[in-house]
């Protein structure tokens, strides 16, 4: 118990003294997971919407794949991304293993199916007649899709939160493809693992608390956007 109090004290000490290393690690976490989430939004929403609106053979199979992907284990993603990015691997020419870029890639792979699955469900949940009505009012197909996406704003923002929450708290893939390099690819989660194995439990707890605070504030902002206009 004493240890937890010590950790909480340490967390606020590190925050209020603006500890340079901790700030760097926190900012990097935000940068990497934020970028990964944005990429996953781009891919997830466009593919998710397409699959939701399209009719094609094997559609159920594709949907089941996406839904399974929502639970993709980060370590497995980390392992495959590592193998692909090895110097002598198929994508070795990129030379991005053990860089923040590799971490963004791995986290985007983790977050994309989450966003995609939630998008799919959200768009499909819209009344079918809405589509016909929009088209009947003379909208082009692209305009129709855009209106549908806007209609599904609430669940889509929930998707953003789920995707971001999934990658900011993820450690398995980050440590594998990033390498936990000091001042370069060390993020809150990998630093927590390292400090735990170093026996610095107070710092580990402090980092955990900072991670929670960060996640809370991001979600607060997103919730604010989500709840701004109450649905009619």
């Amino acid at each position: 118990m004493e240890l937890i109090l010590e950790g909480i004290y340490k967390a606020f000490y590190l925050l209020f003294t603006l500890d340079k290393e901790v700030m760097g690690v926190t900012f990097l976490s935000l940068q990497i997971s934020g970028t990964a989430t944005l990429i996953s939004l781009f891919v997830g929403i466009s593919v998710g919407t397409t699959v939701a609106l399209a009719e094609f053979p094997g559609r159920k199979f594709v949907v089941s794949l996406i839904n399974t992907g929502m639970g993709l284990p980060p370590v497995v993603v980390g392992l495959f991304v590592t193998i692909f990015l090895w110097r002598n691997g198929p994508l070795g020419f990129l030379e991005i293993l053990y860089t923040p870029a590799a971490m963004i890639l791995a986290q985007a792979v983790i977050a994309t199916p989450i966003v995609m699955g939630i998008t799919l469900a959200a768009i499909q949940a819209l009344p079918r007649n809405l589509r016909l009505q929009i088209l009947a009012l003379g909208a082009t197909r692209i305009q129709m899709v855009w209106i549908l996406v806007k209609e599904a704003k609430l669940p889509l923002l929930a998707g953003v939160m789920a995707g971001f929450g999934g990658v900011i708290s993820e450690v398995g893939a980050s440590i594998m493809v990033g390498g936990n390099i000091k001042g370069y690819s060390r993020v809150l989660t990998t630093a927590t693992v390292m400090e735990t194995s170093r026996g610095n439990f107070d710092i580990a707890i402090a980092l955990g608390i900072i991670l929670l605070l960060l996640a809370y504030f991001i979600n607060l902002v997103l919730t604010h956007i989500q709840q701004r206009e109450r649905p009619r």
Binding site: I39, A102, R198, G199
Partner: protein, 287 residues
């Protein structure tokens, strides 16, 4: 109109983002400036590398990517040409690694020692036993719990070596459990379960304050823990950064580093964590 503008903004925002992502990747991609150091966790967890790496980077301009894994995994990375230089402590496996042509120029850096730790009650009564082999035999005979790293690390291969020398194979025994975790976590598990384990002194000292474990056997010649640097052989993998790997290895045996190793940890733990050995022969250690 508003919709279209927003969509345009979104698109260009995305584009900028991709560009930024690529730049993060490329900014440090100045070819052959990166040195990948695959090393054992103890060198990182003890904090030694946090002191040495910035010195090396400042001195040479290389950027070191330290990947702290077990010695076994570090050598596996070297075998695939995915690392440039190794800092490891698993002599038998290292010799094999060099003999098979994966590494060159294996040089001794430093040593410390392994210790056998266990609960204060010492159910197997090993305290005071001079020979480590006898201690291990006593643990086995008493059926007291023994925790093994089982992760092909340097510590694990040392432990397997001791069991072999004692003429035993503990695998599958009820009193023998495999954690598959790093040293720090294995010590925590051992402490919670009141078992015995083999640990490197540095990690034990660093974690001591949170552990209910005592040193029960130490000082035996078989418990010597020697660290070497090995440069990865570029003959098999042309992408290996030869110059960078060599520069790091040379740096580790330099007098400057050896002097730091000599006093590292004294302030925090009251005794040094490692003893510098550059230029010595492995056979002469511990005499």
């Amino acid at each position: 109109m508003r919709t279209r503008r927003f969509r345009k903004m979104f698109f260009f925002g995305m584009l900028a983002l991709f560009a930024a992502t690529l730049m993060i990747g490329n900014s440090v991609q100045a070819q052959q400036k990166n040195v990948i150091l695959a090393t054992t966790t103890s060198t990182q967890d003890s904090g030694l590398l946090d002191v040495l790496i910035p010195m090396f980077e400042k001195k040479t301009g290389y950027f070191v990517k330290t990947i702290a894994v077990g010695s076994g995994q570090a050598m596996a990375m070297g075998q695939k040409g995915e690392a440039d230089v190794l800092l490891v402590h698993s002599p038998a496996a290292e010799k094999k690694f060099v003999a098979e042509g994966y590494g060159v120029n294996r040089r001794i850096i430093m040593h410390n020692d392994f210790i056998v730790v266990g609960p204060g009650e010492d159910p197997a009564k090993i305290k005071g036993t001079k020979s480590t082999l006898d201690s291990f035999k006593k643990i086995a005979a008493s059926g007291a719990l023994f925790l093994s790293r089982a992760d092909k690390s340097g510590t694990h291969s040392k432990e397997m070596g001791i069991w072999k020398a004692a003429g035993m194979n503990p695998e599958g025994q009820k009193w023998y459990q495999q954690t598959g975790l790093g040293m720090g976590q294995t010590l925590n598990v051992t402490s919670e379960k009141k078992g015995y384990t083999l640990a490197d002194r540095g990690t034990y000292l660093a974690l001591k304050k949170n552990l209910a474990l005592n040193i029960l056997a130490e000082g035996d010649a078989i418990l010597l823990n020697v660290y070497h640097v090995i440069e990865v052989n570029p003959a098999k993998f042309p992408k290996v950064n030869v110059a960078g790997g060599k520069a790091f290895a040379d740096f580790m045996v330099s007098k400057e580093v050896q002097d730091i190793v000599k006093t590292f940890g004294v302030e925090k733990y009251g005794s040094p964590l490692f003893f510098p050995d550059a230029g010595k022969k492995e056979e002469d250690l511990g005499k």
